[in-house]
Symmetry: C2
Subunit: 358 residues, 2 copies
């Protein structure tokens, strides 16, 4: 039975908030922000107890594919797919589901983001097994993260009252909720039956494709019109067809409308979506003055800084709460509390057509 | 008569406060901190109306000599001397005086620091001519800078009451005063008859050598024992003899004790000794948010910063009053108001034996 389980890692994002380290061809998921392994390598490592690399599929883009192939020699190259265009998660997952289904009609697929951190992978993997089992039985299963603060930047999943975190028994999902305002987020946190939606879903490929035919018929029929995966005309036809698909997330297209959704609520698995340099800073080991340093550095009267540089000495004198990231062609010095806005700086570079820095 | 006038540019300092741009082999005086010309090039340029390059002598050290030769092709190479050891200004000036005197017994010498900025060189040169003339007549002449604030970091020169700035008539110097405390500096500023001592002196080489024989006999006789300049044994003997000289400034050794000292008080010549990155910042053109940028840079919500980098883009986001200086092997990020302490960081690098960065 296990041999029909597949993992789909979504790795098409850019992660512009990690500029100047992140570039189109070197996005967040392939960066080694913690230790020596990149986030996508850590994702594959973490899934290994439930999914061997030969049953991992990866969806990325043309900029990143070569680097991902390089970083993951254990994943068969033909399973590392590049989307011809960015069309959000519904067409991407639909495409992968259709290909895998064509190769294994019994396939059950788990969807995993490529760029999250999970400090306690064993706790995490414990819940993946029952999620696959629920999917095997025809359900759509989701893995929700127990909220630790009233975050307004994530979507939420509403469960019935009185659920137990870490339980391996599938719980019916009542509703998916969009990013809340702060008061609502606080209510969610307090009520105890809401989880963060971290984008981890499980289903039979046949179930997902049925749902797409029902809720997103145009995209479903475009994908169905593709020649067989691996055949001569596949890539050329995909390049023409894929951009015509609807630009919509799987959450909106399917999950919020499907009725047979169940979920699992994690306990403390140390999940973090690593949304900015500030998150990287907070996840790093810090010295007595709360500096996190990934560089050859000399600090005096400086506190709360994140420093990331290689091949040079960084000297800080009397500075506080900065993010300093140095690369051969770009240097970022930012207020750490404004690290979320680094993406805006990248937009400015795009507007200025500084392609060499993107 | 003019043809007996010589300039001696003292260029042996390190300027560690300009790290990471300043290094032993690339000290402050050879850096292009303003425009395309280095400070020593600007010094030679500024003197040109009174002293042609063929009558300029330069005292530096072994680390810097090659770069100075490269930057000043118009100055005869044999006039660019390297001290075998740092022994402060008295032995250095004595050595140059003795060499020049041996080549021209009628020589009159002006001493000029290599690393100052003078925004109004014409006003400055106006006073150099009468200073040379006073020296020609056997006096020791000094050029004092009218103080603009109660600086405690400079020595002062005391003139009689009621002197007139910018006058081309020599004024007797009453006393040299050491760096004052703040109350004293304020009194000096208010009294109107004190000037900053900027290290610009004029004398016949014979007068200076007489004074050294009188006030610093050991150094005088060590220097007198050297073989003829340009002879085969000169350099080898200098390397042995020079380190034996007293380590003392010309101010202490001669000026404070001599009786025949006269002075000239500059009006506003835009003098600045460029003591730190903060001084560089203040001398630079600033944008509407008071940033001074010598780099390809993109700034958002950032003010009062000095940025110096080449070959890369620097992005600032929400930061204030920083000095950011990037070089291929070192990056400095400092509170601009603590730029004076950059030299301490260099001392820490010396203690850590990071020779490659010094």
């Amino acid at each position: 039975m296990t041999s029909h389980q597949y993992g789909l890692i979504l790795a098409g994002g850019r992660g512009t908030r990690f500029w100047p380290r992140s570039r189109r061809a070197n996005a967040k998921q392939v960066l080694s922000l913690f230790g020596d392994r990149s986030l996508i390598q850590q994702t594959v490592d973490r899934l290994r107890p439930v999914l061997p690399p030969e049953r991992i599929w990866i969806l990325t883009n043309d900029y990143l594919r070569a680097e991902i192939v390089r970083q993951l020699p254990e994943v068969p190259q033909r399973q590392i797919l590049a989307e011809p265009a960015q069309r959000n998660t519904a067409p991407a997952i639909g495409l992968a589901a259709q290909i895998i289904q064509s190769l294994d009609p019994e396939a059950v697929m788990g969807v995993f983001p490529a760029d999250h951190v999970i400090a306690k992978p064993r706790e995490y993997v414990r819940l993946i097994r029952p999620a696959f089992r629920a999917a095997q039985e025809g359900k759509i299963a989701v893995l929700g993260i127990q909220p630790r603060w009233p975050e307004t930047g994530y979507g939420y999943i509403e469960f019935p009252k009185g659920i137990e975190a870490g339980s391996r028994v599938a719980i019916p999902v009542l509703r998916f909720r969009e990013k809340p305002d702060e008061a609502t987020a606080k209510r969610y946190l307090k009520s105890g039956n809401f989880s963060w939606n971290a984008g981890m879903f499980f289903w039979r490929t046949s179930v997902l494709l049925d749902a797409l035919r029902r809720y997103l018929p145009k995209t479903a029929s475009l994908l169905a019109s593709l020649p067989a995966f691996g055949s001569k005309g596949f890539s050329a036809q995909l390049a023409k067809t894929f951009p015509l698909c609807e630009n919509i997330s799987i959450d909106y297209a399917v999950l919020e409308r499907a009725s047979n959704v169940v979920g699992f609520l994690t306990g403390d698995i140390g999940w973090n979506d690593v949304g900015s340099w500030n998150a990287v800073y907070e996840l790093h080991k810090q010295d007595a003055s709360r500096n996190a340093v990934r560089a050859d550095a000399l600090l005096k009267d400086s506190s709360g800084n994140y420093v990331d540089a290689s091949g040079k000495l960084v000297v800080l004198l009397g500075v506080r709460d900065l993010v300093i990231v140095d690369t051969p062609d770009a240097l970022l010095v930012a207020d750490r509390n404004r690290a979320q806005q680094v993406g805006d700086m990248v937009k400015m570079l795009e507007q200025a057509r500084r392609e060499e820095l993107l």
